[in-house]
Point group: C2
Chain length 249, copies 2
């Protein structure tokens, strides 16, 4: 944990907050904080700040908090992901938040098992702590927005323009003739990156995506598993965007 | 499994091989192969080829194999990795082979638990099938070379020049002033990428690496967990090398 993330329900009162949960345990057992020590803190979806340890008492840590004025920007990349199997998705939540995504749009697809959507893994109670764990790892405060869509066609035809109104839409596909690097070079718009299930999108899905402005991009000759592909593509996309001359999203 | 990898111990006799293990099960249960069908095959550390199903019988699959002449090149990136905890390393083996590494050099470090080296995870019996699983996923035949080193100083001072005689040495470090993209732009040498333990290399280790030609490179402001960092850095390094004008390693 490289950042202590606070949120309204922690009840920050006159800038003082007392932590009693896993964060307090981590501060006491791993970081071994002592009164007077200054910690890097953040307000969820808000600014960074400094928390000075006021008191350490019986598993509780009291911090006196000051916050900066500016709120860090939302990461410029959104993800449209065919829901992987629950075991894989469980590991992905924190990784996605760590790599940096503004929005995670989970969708059904022909090669997704429909009952994955009935599992715990797509409930906010499950994924919210995992996303926060990822943010605390990399010192970000911006919680990815998450939505789940059981009907791919309705998502793409009716809902996607609201979720992602403008920007570059890319779909990872081994048949893509453009590389993700070329597709993003010197662009400064938001990016929506679509990643299909193990086995890929079917023809109907790929055509529907292309009809809705998704450009197929290839990651070279190696067809990675979905979780590895998510990390690899997000890392490369961020790497290319960091080098864009202007950043204004 | 996108490629059936064969090896000498499969006993290829007059180009005919009979599989009876997990590969046969996968071919029968998942891919549902039938006689006459042509499959993409490869010889471990050898060429690609085609395997035509000759017979399917009681859980066994017999293939008639022809091989191409050329052997694919070893991936141009090697990895020096402070051994992560066994649970993480278990997941990493297949991912590293899938992303493409020529050599994996595992090392101890101040922030590595020494007993990690006594676990099953660093034995060939454990990691070889996992590496092969990764190669079969991405259709590669080149098995990464693996070595383990319990003494970091001896590794860096005495052994490393044999393991990695020439090329670019990079060490991932949040304090790095160069990006990995800049360090590799327009270079066509082999790359050795060093990734430290959770919590990072200590000062002594980082200085020793720098004294032995490692250039610190940063991956931006987000400090990723080791497994995510491995995937992200290898993906970016391959992405930059793919764009190099000449590739001759």
């Amino acid at each position: 944990m490289n950042l202590v993330l606070l949120e309204p329900r922690d009840g920050i009162d006159s800038s003082v907050v007392t932590l009693t949960d896993a964060r307090a345990t981590h501060l006491l057992k791993v970081l071994r904080v002592t009164p007077g020590q200054a910690l890097r803190i953040g307000l969820l979806d808000g600014p960074f700040g400094t928390g000075t340890v006021e008191a350490v008492d019986n598993g509780r840590v009291t911090l006196c908090c000051t916050f900066e004025k500016d709120i860090p920007p939302r990461p410029p990349i959104d993800l449209l992901l065919a829901l992987p199997r629950p075991k894989v998705m469980r590991r992905l939540w924190a990784q996605l938040a760590a790599l940096g995504v503004g929005r995670i749009i989970l969708t059904n697809a022909s090669r997704v098992e429909r009952d994955y959507f009935d599992t715990h893994i797509v409930t906010e109670a499950c994924f919210r702590p995992l996303l926060i764990e990822g943010l605390q790892q990399v010192r970000d405060t911006r919680l990815p927005l998450v939505s789940s869509h059981r009907q791919f066609k309705i998502l793409v035809e009716d809902d996607l323009d609201d979720l992602f109104p403008s920007g570059i839409r890319l779909v990872a596909d081994p048949g893509g003739k453009t590389s993700i690097e070329d597709a993003l070079a010197n662009r400064d718009e938001r990016v929506l990156l679509a990643i299909g299930p193990e086995g890929g999108w079917n023809d109907f899905e790929l055509k529907l995506l292309e009809a809705h402005r998704f450009v197929p991009v290839s990651l070279g000759p190696r067809t990675l598993r979905v979780d590895t592909a998510c990390t690899a593509l997000l890392a490369i996309a961020h790497s290319v965007l960091r080098r864009a001359p202007v950043r204004n999203v």
